[in-house]
């Protein structure tokens, strides 16, 4: 009977721990609710809407919203490799005019964005099961080769 009483207390503690894990899950600690990251300068503003936490297998679309306050003659979104490494890129919409590598980063060119206009770019991603850990997913908005603004963010992939 003594052993039984001991086990009941252990079971209660374990149940409480499980409750904490589930509450953390409800609080989005393990993903995948999207998060908005924004940055703004007098020339343009950029809003990135994508999860900061995700789990393997999950599919989602990252949204990049560029608003030009001033004319951007040759807009480029320059993404860290963390946006593609360990992901399956299911699609890009709209299709960028150019796709290139800029010093190891992904550079998507969209051409001219007139002042006062917006460009919304979607990137459909699926997390590969081998993609576990924390990666940098910085986003830079350039006009040609000139950086306009940068958003610093990281994504954490849970096993």
């Amino acid at each position: 009977m003594v052993g039984r009483a001991w086990w009941i207390n252990v079971r209660r503690i374990l149940l409480a721990l499980l409750t904490v894990v589930l509450l953390l899950g409800l609080l989005n600690v393990f993903g995948q609710r999207p998060h908005s990251s924004t940055s703004s300068t007098p020339r343009a503003s950029l809003k990135v809407y994508a999860p900061l936490h995700a789990r393997s297998g999950l599919a989602y679309a990252a949204r990049f919203h560029i608003t030009a306050h001033d004319d951007i003659k040759d807009a480029f979104l320059v993404l860290d490799p963390g946006w593609a490494e360990g992901y399956t890129v299911n699609g890009l919409a709209p299709q960028p005019l150019t796709e290139a590598s800029r010093n190891g980063r992904l550079a998507y060119g969209f051409g001219h964005i007139p002042a006062g206009q917006s460009l919304i770019f979607f990137m459909s991603l699926q997390v590969n099961p081998t993609n576990i850990g924390r990666r940098s997913q910085n986003v830079e908005l350039d006009d040609g080769e000139t950086p306009i603004l940068t958003i610093h963010r990281n994504v954490t992939i849970f096993p």
Partner: protein, 147 residues
């Protein structure tokens, strides 16, 4: 967070479904009952985990179901009204050798199925030998023989 909510909704829906289909299906396994239970398992898995292959997803989904099962057990233990809602009440099928046809009909049980249980459990030959036959909340039929 979505997976915890999806698992909770799935648990509540299956609990509701099991109450609606009746308790006969809980104990007996006719072909249609087997189809129901197998298909539910597969469909629920798709809805809860979706494309999630992660161990974290398993912990969250299974943990939610386990937690709700524990919570349900605790609530039904504490409050009899909740127990009646979640588990239902025992249904008397035979009283002093007399069939209660309305209850049999409500539970979709035939007198032959009832007699089969009476023979298997107590070896009774006739309904006259049965004092009580009760459909328990688990779906099992308990038979009490006359002295």
């Amino acid at each position: 967070m979505d997976i915890v909510i999806r698992a909770a909704v799935a648990y509540l829906f299956i609990l509701f479904l099991m109450r609606v289909v009746g308790r006969r299906e809980l104990s007996s396994m006719e072909p249609s009952d087997l189809i129901l239970l197998v298909v539910i398992g597969d469909l629920v898995q798709n809805g809860v985990t979706q494309s999630d292959y992660s161990v974290t997803g398993i912990v969250l989904a299974a943990g939610t179901i386990g937690m709700l099962a524990t919570l349900t057990a605790w609530l039904t233990y504490k409050w009899s009204r909740i127990r009646n809602v979640v588990e239902g009440e025992p249904v008397i099928l035979v009283e002093d050798g007399r069939l209660i046809e309305r209850n049999l009909k409500n539970e979709r049980l035939t007198p032959d199925e009832l007699m089969e249980q009476a023979r298997l459990q107590q070896g009774v030959e006739s309904l006259d030998d049965v004092k009580w036959a009760v459909l328990e909340t688990s779906g099992a039929i308990s038979i009490v023989k006359k002295e």
